[in-house]
């Protein structure tokens, strides 16, 4: 009897409201989208982590490389948008690349994304911890506290605590509110502009370097390898911008808002980056001694060194901006590898325990813990074996982003291969833009990977004469290949194409498991 009753009352999944996306439908305007874009980019964090390493590669051509780095990002993001529109329910490099190229390459696309996010998590946590101690030192006036972060017995446990807190918050499904994001982003942008203004109006710059047009000329970079390394680093500083293009349903007008939001975001970000980059060059120069931006000791975290001399007592604002931006990013980025791991578990590309969802918090459970453990392990290992862990991880991260972005861009071209020339629009957005962007990024990937084998590359850390960046970057990818081959033997369903079918002619939700 109960059986009959139950059949009269099937799960009302169609009424579930899940597909309505709750209250989020159409609430984000251009301004909101710009705030979301900037918060995903987290400029205060990316500048302090990436600026020094980029100066090390390209010297005074910093402004040029920042502008040039945006071009492949733009081209690839245009392809992303096409994939997102064609497969709105999939949403990651893993599923897209699997649909286009099949399980093996798709698996590696997912691995690349997970690796990139795990690396950035460990870096975000480290930067947050550095500025946590700097901030306490500035608040208390006790300078020795800032140096605590150099003591590994203090630094590593603190970083692990930060990662654990971020994982717990994202497991609990706690979300940043609109007001929180506006305040955080406004504060970050304001403080960075203040830094640039104070650098240019300073009475006593450390090494006054006049700003010239040559600094904006990408051809001025001395070698191709420096250019490639610079591009892969500047990809890192724009990483996050493409979120503005893939937000559609959430916006008030999906036809206009994403395009305008993306344009405004990139204009604001480039203006901000150029202001800060030229400010740093003007005030500190690229000299390799003292406060020069070319000094390897300063390159791990440029604002940790420069904000005090440039901003005086106001440096505390910079510490607060960087700490809040990196801690907030740490929490929001934690969700990403967890969800990709979950998707891979769900489609049987990894053991299905990764697909567990917490019934109370509706968030990935096993996958969140796995992401946090991976980020923590990555951090501890690099911290212990590299003299300059932050620098090397950022460079390795650039490699990883080039890899999975490039792969996804080419996936776009291949996925749409039978309609590439159907219209002028397709030629541009589905063919040329992702093809050129993808090729640029993969060329950058290989060029940087080969170059990074040299022991002197990056911070100069090496193991057995092989550069640390190569070991971190390529090593993680090779580890992925091993894990993939192991999974393929143990859980062959995904690799036989039973869970996600390659190609277009199928239902959007292929949940046949």
């Amino acid at each position: 009897m109960s059986q009959e009753l139950r059949q009269d009352n099937p799960p009302e999944s169609n009424d579930s409201g899940l597909h309505e996306k709750g209250l989020s439908k159409g609430t984000v305007g251009v301004m909101g989208l710009v705030v979301i874009g900037i918060s995903c980019i987290a400029p205060a964090y990316t500048l302090t982590a990436g600026l020094g390493a980029t100066v090390a590669e390209v010297g005074t051509s910093l402004p040029a490389i920042l502008i040039a780095g945006f071009i492949p990002m733009l081209l690839v993001a245009l392809g992303y948008r096409e994939l997102n529109n064609a497969m709105p329910d999939s949403g990651t490099s893993f599923t897209w690349a699997t649909r286009a190229f099949g399980p093996m390459i798709g698996w590696m696309g997912g691995w690349g994304l997970i690796a990139a996010t795990v690396i950035v998590l460990s870096n975000l946590a480290a930067v947050a911890v550095d500025f946590f101690y700097i901030l306490i030192a500035q608040l208390t006036g006790q300078d020795w506290i800032a140096d605590l972060t150099k003591n590994l017995w203090i630094n590593i446990p603190t970083t692990l605590v930060f990662i654990a807190i971020a994982a717990y918050i994202s497991y609990r499904g706690m979300n940043a509110t609109k007001v929180f994001q506006y305040v955080l982003v406004g504060f970050q942008v304001g403080v960075l502009l203040l830094f640039a203004i104070m650098a240019f109006t300073s009475d006593a710059p450390f090494d006054r370097t006049p700003i010239t047009f040559e600094m904006f000329n990408p051809a001025g970079v001395e070698s191709f390898t420096a250019f490639a390394a610079g591009i892969s680093l500047s990809i890192f500083v724009f990483w996050g911008w493409d979120v503005t293009l893939t937000m559609n349903e959430e916006t008030t007008d999906p036809n206009k808002v994403p395009g305008r939001g993306a344009t405004w975001t990139v204009l604001i970000i480039i203006a901000l980056y150029l202001a800060v980059a030229t400010g740093v060059l003007y005030w500190a120069g690229v000299g390799t001694t003292g406060l020069g931006a070319g000094n390897p000791d300063n390159q791990e975290s440029i604002f940790a060194v420069l904000s005090g001399p440039v901003m005086g007592p106001l440096a505390i604002l910079m510490s607060l901006a960087i700490m809040s931006s990196s801690a907030a990013s740490l929490q929001s980025t934690m969700v990403s590898p967890a969800r990709t791991l979950l998707a891979m578990g769900y489609y049987k590309a990894l053991p299905s325990s990764f697909a567990k969802i917490s019934p109370r918090f509706m968030s990935p459970s096993v996958a969140t813990v796995a992401s946090a453990v991976a980020a923590a392990a990555f951090y501890v290992i690099t911290r212990l074996i590299s003299e300059n862990a932050l620098w090397d991880t950022i460079t390795a991260l650039g490699l990883m982003i080039c890899f999975y972005y490039g792969l996804t861009a080419l996936a776009c071209v291949w996925y749409f291969r039978d309609e590439l020339f159907a219209s002028a629009r397709n030629i541009i957005f589905k063919f040329l833009a992702p093809l050129v962007g993808g090729i640029i990024l993969l060329v950058m990937f290989f060029a940087t990977a080969i170059e990074s084998m040299k022991p002197s590359y990056g911070s100069g850390s090496n193991i057995g004469g092989v550069g640390m960046v190569f070991i971190l970057g390529v090593g993680v990818l090779l580890l992925g290949v091993i894990v993939m081959l192991y999974t393929r033997v143990k859980h062959p369903a995904f690799f036989k194409g039973e869970t996600i079918k390659t190609g277009k002619n199928q239902a959007q939700k292929n949940l046949s498991i």
Partner: protein
Amino acid sequence: MKLLVGYTADERGAEAIELASAVVAGTKNASLQIAIVLPAATPFSAIYPGGDHGYESILSAQVDAWAAQALALVPAGINASVVARSVSSIAEGLIELGQEFEAHGIVLGGRKRHVGGFFMPGNITNALLHSSPLAVFMSSPTSLDSLRNAGGKITRLTCFVGDRPGARAVIDLSARIAEARQVKLRVATLVAHKDVAVTAEDLDAHVKNTREHLVQVIEELGIEAQIDIVIGGTIDAASSQLSWQPGDLALLGSSRLAANRRLFIGPKAQRILGNLNVPIGVIPTLETTR
């Protein structure tokens, strides 16, 4: 009777369905509306890189699977269906769903948590206890043991009242619920003698007055009920002296602080909640319909 079950796909959710089934069993149109609530997607915490969309489709498939599991837990003879919805606040969402589906109450599974010696209901239960316009029923593992010992059947209702005017409404409503279920009603009053009296004579007089008042109320309402007045040094001591039988369901009225037709759990009721090892329902006192 129709109850809305706040369901999570774990032991708590299963316990909530078990309690809800026992409460509605044997009533007219016995039915459960099982609700799976999800936090609303908030665009301002954009997930990067990767986007939300892949997760949404996996989550909705998972919810469908949970819905099927939930329905399988409902015993024969009870009509049940599942609704899943994204809500901005889980407590508010449950209240909205309860009103939308015209449920008579909301059922939650829970755990006893003690913070600093005080019983603390979970966040969601707590929010419901302070704002719900519908009755709220709560289970815990020990309280379900009591229910299971009675074969999953409610055998008696115990309504807690004070000696103040609100008692009448609580007794009235409890009596009607008991009648619908054809079970006995017990009216219990806890007296903390330190609060009411200095001397033994005062205490006796207080107890006598209270009993007379309750007898009068029961006679006026024309119902049958057992009256238990339990005395202890404190509310905790008194409530631990009250005897229970398998299948008891405790009912408490909302505090007089509550806005009309809304729950507001008072400090005394909160203490009682922490001491009971039977399922508990908290009912809005001014509710006059069944």
